[in-house]
Amino acid sequence: MILLNLYLSFAKVGLFTFGGGYAMLPLIESEIIHGRGWLTVREFTDIVAIAEVTPGPIAVNSATFVGYRLAGAVGGIVATLGVVTPSVIIVLALAMLASRFENSDRLARVKSGMRPAVVGLIAAAAFSVARVALVDSKSMMIAAAAAVLVFWAKLDPIVVLAISGLLGMLIFS
C-alpha cells in the first residue's frame, strides 16, 4: 500500500510541475511533507542539499530519496517511476501528435514562433544559474576558465565539468 501511495504521490508531483527543477520543490513540500507527513521539513532541506550535489534532475533525486527513506530501495525505484510516468505519457503523446501533422503549414508556423523563444529560454537558464553560481571573484575566475575551455579549446562539456570540479576542490577547500 505504501508503494502504491508513493507511486501516486510522485506521479502527482510529476504531473503538476511545469518548468522543472526548483519549480517542483513547493509541490513536493505540500504533497509529501504537509499532505502525507512522510518527511519533516528538516529532512526535506537535506534532500534539496543532496540533490544539488548529485547528478540528475532534482525531481528524480528527491523521489528516489523519499522512496528509499520510506520503503527501501524498492520504494526509491517506485517513487522515481511515479515522478517520470506523466512526463513519459504526455511527451510521447505530443511527439506522436507532432509526427502526424509533420507536413502541416500550421505546425510550421507554430514552430517558427516557438524556436526563437526556446533559445531565449536557454539563455534565461544561464542567467538563473549565474545568479547563484557567480557570487565572488573566485567563481568568476572559474567561469572565465570554463569559457576558455568551451569556446577556445572546444572541450567536451563533460570534460569541462570534471575540470571545473577539480578547480573548485583546489580553490574552495
Binding site: 517520470v84 513519459v88 536557454i122
Partner: protein, 215 residues
C-alpha cells in the same frame, strides 16, 4: 561508449545550410533516413552518460545532448533539437526526462523513448540510493561542496554556449531576435513560467508567422 560517428556529426552541425541533397531537414519525428541509425543499446549508453553528468540542473543536459547526439553522433538535426526542446519545456515534468523521452521516441519509437529515459534516470537512482545510506558524511564533506562550487560557474558557461549554438541557425532575423530576447527577459527577470512563454510564442507564430524560419 565513444564509438562516435564524427563525420556525420560534423555534417549535422551545418544542417541548416541544406547542403545534403535537398532532403527535408525538419522532419520532427520518426528518424531521418539520411542520418545514422541509433541502436537501442547506443541510445541507452549515450543517455546514461548524459544522465551521469547532468549536474547543476536539468538545463545542463542541453549542451550535453547537443554535443553527444546532435554534433558527435549526428542522430538529430539542429532544428529538430530545438523543436524537441520546445515541447520538453512546455510539457510538465523534469526537462531532462521530457527531452530524453522525445529524443528516444524520435530515433527509435516507444522502445527508444524507454531506453533513453531509463538511461537518463538510472545514474541518479543509483547514486541517490548509495548516497542515502552515507548521507551525512557526503553532504557535509568539504571536498564535495568545493567541487560543486567549482562546477556551478562552469554550468553557466555551458548553458550560455548552448544558447549561442542552438540560436545561430534559429535566430536569423530581427523578429526572431526580438522574440528570443523577449522570452529571455520574461523568464529570467519577470519570472514568467517557461511553459507559458513557449505557448505564447507558438500562438504568435500560428497567427502572425515568423519570417525567415520556415517549417
Amino acid at each position: 561508449m565513444r564509438r562516435s560517428i564524427i563525420i556525420e556529426g560534423d555534417k549535422s552541425m551545418d544542417s541548416t545550410s541544406t547542403s545534403d541533397s535537398g532532403r527535408k531537414i525538419d522532419k520532427p519525428v520518426g528518424g531521418d533516413q539520411n542520418r545514422p541509425r541509433a541502436s537501442l543499446a547506443a541510445l541507452f549508453w549515450t543517455f546514461l552518460r548524459i544522465g551521469a553528468f547532468t549536474i547543476g540542473g536539468g538545463y545542463v543536459m542541453v549542451p550535453l545532448i547537443q554535443r553527444d547526439i546532435v554534433e558527435r553522433r549526428g542522430w538529430i538535426g539542429k532544428r529538430d533539437f530545438v523543436d524537441i526542446l520546445a515541447v520538453s519545456q512546455t510539457a510538465p515534468g523534469p526537462l531532462a526526462v521530457n527531452t530524453s523521452v522525445y529524443v528516444g521516441y524520435t530515433l527509435r519509437g516507444i522502445r527508444g523513448a524507454m531506453a533513453a529515459v531509463v538511461g537518463c534516470i538510472l545514474p541518479s537512482i543509483i547514486i541517490i540510493l548509495l548516497v542515502a545510506a552515507l548521507f551525512d558524511q557526503i553532504s557535509s564533506s568539504n571536498y564535495v561542496r568545493a567541487a560543486f562550487a567549482g562546477i556551478r560557474p562552469a554550468v553557466v558557461v555551458l548553458i550560455a554556449s548552448a544558447a549561442i549554438k542552438i540560436g545561430r541557425p534559429v535566430v536569423r532575423s530581427r523578429v526572431e531576435l526580438a522574440l528570443a530576447a523577449a522570452a529571455m527577459i520574461l523568464v529570467a527577470f519577470v519570472r514568467v513560467s517557461p511553459a507559458l512563454v513557449v505557448t505564447a510564442a507558438a500562438v504568435y507564430g500560428l497567427l502572425v508567422g515568423v519570417g525567415g524560419t520556415k517549417g
